[in-house]
């Protein structure tokens, strides 16, 4: 995909009072791309979206659409339609008036508006609701009216501010796919703000992870999931198990020293950038494999940790164990249950073990 050309942000920063909300955001988005801005609350993702929509002016940097600087344009001149988290439907207008308002502003004839509104209703499954007021709609219907209102003006760029967060968990799953399919069909460029990792993974072509107002990493869902660039990204993408280790480079591998729970093991670099010293090792509960100590074959590639099962639960599909490794407790999944008190080996394949130099050392 051609990255330069459609929507690009360079050096964008935003300050609220004395708080720096966004710092040095460089982002280039291709036409038709679906980008998810992912981060925990307060990371600046909603600020970034509002900055794109024109409700906030950046304190530095510029926003360019099709080589045109839009940084100082008012919201109504930007051609970006925003779907609000609260939907922000106008309570004094009917569904048809809400969807058709943008067309009315463009001075389109009444008959034309009516036919385009009913086509939009058809597409979003809102037939027969044109005369209803927003107060008389369900959450899912409101969400679709808000989407219809944004899509009716045929925007170049669709901005989505956690539009699924107010929906029932069950509806949300199907709406994810509907929204993604619709975006692909219309070939519209979409920027989706969410704090839901799975939602971002399922919907987006590219995920941009924000941490404290900076881009922590951006890439395809597989990239950010399998090759996290920092301990923060690894933790945010679900690698919550953390162990402190020491090691040093040794040829094309990184030599992990023996610790309270493991023997010295070499891990191939495979793109990792590590220097000698303390490292933070992270892995996902589902990436670990559990073996009873006497059944473990030590020749498997990867790192093996010896420990004791403390607790076991069944969240569905697999058994989740709390295992003590030295002075740390971690979680590990297994297809069968190991009872508390058992001595086990937690084996983490080399490609699933994320290593980062500890910032302190």
């Amino acid at each position: 995909m051609e990255r330069n050309g459609f929507l690009s942000l360079s050096g964008v920063a935003s300050r609220y009072g004395s708080t720096q909300v966004l710092t040095d955001i460089d982002l280039s988005i291709a036409k038709g791309e679906f980008v998810a801005l992912l981060g925990s609350s307060g990371c600046g993702k909603t600020t970034l979206l509002r900055l794109l929509a024109g409700f906030i002016s950046p304190s530095a940097g510029e926003v360019v659409v099709r080589q045109r600087d839009v940084t100082r344009l008012p919201p109504d001149k930007r051609g970006m339609a925003l779907v609000f988290q609260s939907y922000a439907l106008w309570p004094h207008m009917t569904v048809a008036q809400n969807i058709g308002y943008g067309l009315k502003l463009k001075g389109i004839a009444k008959a034309e508006i009516a036919s385009r509104v009913s086509a939009m209703q058809q597409m979003l499954g809102l037939q027969g609701l044109e005369a209803r007021k927003p107060a008389n709609l369900s959450g899912g219907q409101r969400q679709r009216v808000a989407l219809g209102r944004a899509l009716a003006v045929d925007p170049e760029i669709l901005l989505l501010d956690e539009p699924l967060s107010n929906l029932d968990a069950r509806i949300r799953l199907s709406v994810r796919h509907e929204l993604r399919a619709l975006q692909k069909r219309l070939g519209i460029t979409a920027i989706h703000v969410t704090h839901d990792r799975e939602e971002a993974m399922v919907m987006a072509d590219r995920i941009v992870i924000l941490d404290a107002g900076r881009i922590a990493q951006q890439g395809s869902p597989e990239e950010v999931y399998n090759q996290p660039a920092s301990a923060f990204v690894a933790a945010f993408m679900g690698a919550e198990n953390v162990l402190s280790m020491n090691g040093q480079p040794d040829g094309d591998a990184f030599m992990l020293q023996a610790g309270p729970a493991n023997k010295a093991t070499a891990v191939p670099f495979a793109g990792r950038k590590l220097s000698a010293g303390a490292v933070e090792a992270r892995f996902r509960p589902e990436a670990a494999q559990l073996f009873a100590t006497e059944e473990f074959l030590p020749r498997r590639p990867g790192v093996a940790f010896g420990g004791e099962v403390l607790a076991v639960t069944y969240p569905g599909g697999h058994w989740r164990h709390v295992v003590r490794l030295g002075d740390r407790e971690i979680m590990a999944d297994a297809p069968q249950a190991f009872s508390p008190g058992m001595q086990v080996v937690v084996h983490v394949p080399a490609e699933s073990l994320f290593l980062f130099n500890s910032p302190a050392s």
């Binding site: 929509a53 409700f55 106008w90 502003l105 003006v153």
Partner: protein
Amino acid sequence: MTVVASKSSMANAWAALWWLPRGIVFGLMAFFIFGPLFNMLLWTVAEKWYFPYTFPLQYGFSSWEKVFAPRGGALESLSNSLIVALLTVVVSLLLAIPAGYALARLKLPFRSLILLAFLIPQAFPNLTVYVNIARIFYEIGLNGTIPGVVLVHVSHGLVYAVWIATAAFSAIDIELEQAARNIGAGAMRTFMDVTLPLAAPGLMASAIFVFLESLDEFTGSYFVGAPDVNMLPLLLYTSAAGGNYQIASITALLLLVPSLVFMLMVERFLKADVLSRVGH
């Protein structure tokens, strides 16, 4: 067993008598509210009524004829009062809509001080304020004119208009306006299509308050308006002072009816979300 039974029957007896104090309290309240009103209604149709008789000796509508006769002055006062009240509403809203919107939306320094400033005309004794206004108006030729009276009433009613309009605008979610801007509406278009319709019930309520305030405002009307511009409260005052209770009661009734009607309307228009923001 019997002790318990007699105790509970005692309690029952007390409960049965509970209506008595309740009835007395409600009866007294009704008497103090409706008694004077009923007395006023009687006076409007009394031809002859003097001490020691409890009720009028003779009923009739001759006072109504007198009031509504071309030379009775009541029709003139009524139309003056209505014209002034309507103009006061128009001027107050023209000032209160932009002021209220600015106070609700912009980050103004000293916002609460500005809100408080509208209360100043109410903070000092009316007489002192209006005597001085009358003196100034006399110098610039506004005394004894309808615009003069309207200005006095506006200064008095603006606190209701601005406070309620501010509350009405701040009760509107700013995202509703942003949604309109986002879809391509300019600032003015957004205000006309989204903000104003949503604020309309609150603005309507503030208009009614101003209207009622203007209708029974006395001091300012007296010093600035009289004797060239006569208003209903003035007529009420002169006829009551002259012992003409029939005319005074009919005037009072004319003032009371719109108040009652509009109070019922205000109750419908002023929603809790607006009411809770008044003065904030």
